[in-house]
Symmetry: C2
Subunit: 140 residues, 2 copies
DNA sequence: CTGATTGCAAAGTCTTTGCATACGA
DNA sequence: TCGTATGCAAAGACTTTGCAATCAG
C-alpha cells in the first residue's frame, strides 16, 4: 500500500477530517524520496492547491505525532520531514551547497539496533547525518 | 593538552586576538562534557564576565570554522555546540524532557568509517542521534 | 596607534498562535 | 448543523547584522 493511503487511514482513525491542506501535504510527501522543509512544501504547493504556511506546520505536527513522518535536522537550522517507511535511509549533507543525499547501510543499522538494546533508554527512532563535501563542491 | 589551550593556540594561529568574550566562551566550553546551546552559554556566563549574545554566536562560528567545536542538532530547533575531542560521543535525546545523554560506541564508529570510505563524498564529520524516552519519562 | 573585538539594538529566519471564516461529515 | 480545518496576520524563539565604543598587540 502506498504511504499516503496509509497516512490517510491513520489520520482518519485519529479523528481527523480530510481537509484540503491535509490532503495536499500528505500527497506531496507521499511522492518524495527525501526530506523536505516546511517552506519547500509550501513552495511546492504554490502551483496546485495553495496551502497556508500555518497549515503546513500544523499538518506536519500531526504526522510526526502519529509517527507517519520523521523530522530530520541536519544542522542548518531548518527542520525537514520525510515519510517513515520500512526501509528508511539517512543523509549525507554537503556543507558547501547544502544538498542532501540519502543512503542506506545495513551494518550501520545493526550497530544502532545493538546499541539501542544496551542503553537505559527506550529508543524509538534514530538519525545519522554525515557531513562533508559532495563531488561537485570538493572539486570546485 | 587541555582542549581550551589547544583552542587558544589555533585561534591565535588563525590571527584572532584573545579578547574577553572569546576567552570566556572557550574556557566555558573547555569545562563541558556535553553540548551547550548559545543561550545556555550566555546564561552560564551571566555570573562571571558578562558576554553579549552576538559575541557568543560569533565566537561559536569561528570555533566551528576552525573545527574546534562541532555543532549538534538534535531536532528541537536549537543548535548546540561541543568541543571536538579525539574520542567523541553521540547523543540520546529524551523527547519527553529534552535532556541529552552522551554515549560512545566503537561498533557504530567503525560502521560509519567503512561507510564513509564507500560513498562518493568527502566525509568530514558525522552525527548520530537516538530519540526516545529516558528512564524517568518512560515511567512517568 | 590602528584595526580587531565587543555589546547593544535592530533586522532576519523559521515556527507557532489567535482568531474569524470556510468546510467536511 | 456543529465542530474541525484553514488562512491570514501577529507573536515568538533563535540567530545574524550594523554600528559606535572599547580593547589587544
Amino acid at each position: 500500500m502506498a504511504w499516503s493511503e496509509h497516512a490517510f487511514e491513520q489520520l482518519t482513525a485519529a479523528g481527523h477530517r480530510r481537509g484540503g491542506a491535509r490532503e495536499a501535504v500528505v500527497e506531496l510527501l507521499g511522492g518524495q524520496s527525501c526530506a523536505l522543509s516546511a517552506l519547500e512544501i509550501e513552495d511546492a504547493l504554490r502551483g496546485g492547491r495553495r496551502v497556508g504556511r500555518a497549515s503546513v506546520y500544523r499538518v506536519l505536527d500531526e504526522l510526526v505525532a502519529l509517527d507517519l513522518i520523521s523530522r530530520v535536522d541536519v544542522g542548518d537550522g531548518v527542520a525537514r520531514y520525510e515519510p517513515q517507511r520500512s526501509h528508511h535511509h539517512h543523509h549525507l549533507v554537503c556543507d558547501g551547497c547544502g544538498r542532501l543525499t540519502p543512503f542506506q547501510d545495513d551494518a550501520l543499522e545493526q550497530a544502532i539496533r545493538r546499541l539501542a538494546d544496551r542503553v537505559a533508554f527506550a529508543v524509538s527512532d534514530h538519525d545519522v547525518t554525515l557531513h562533508g563535501s559532495c563531488e561537485h563542491c570538493s572539486t570546485g
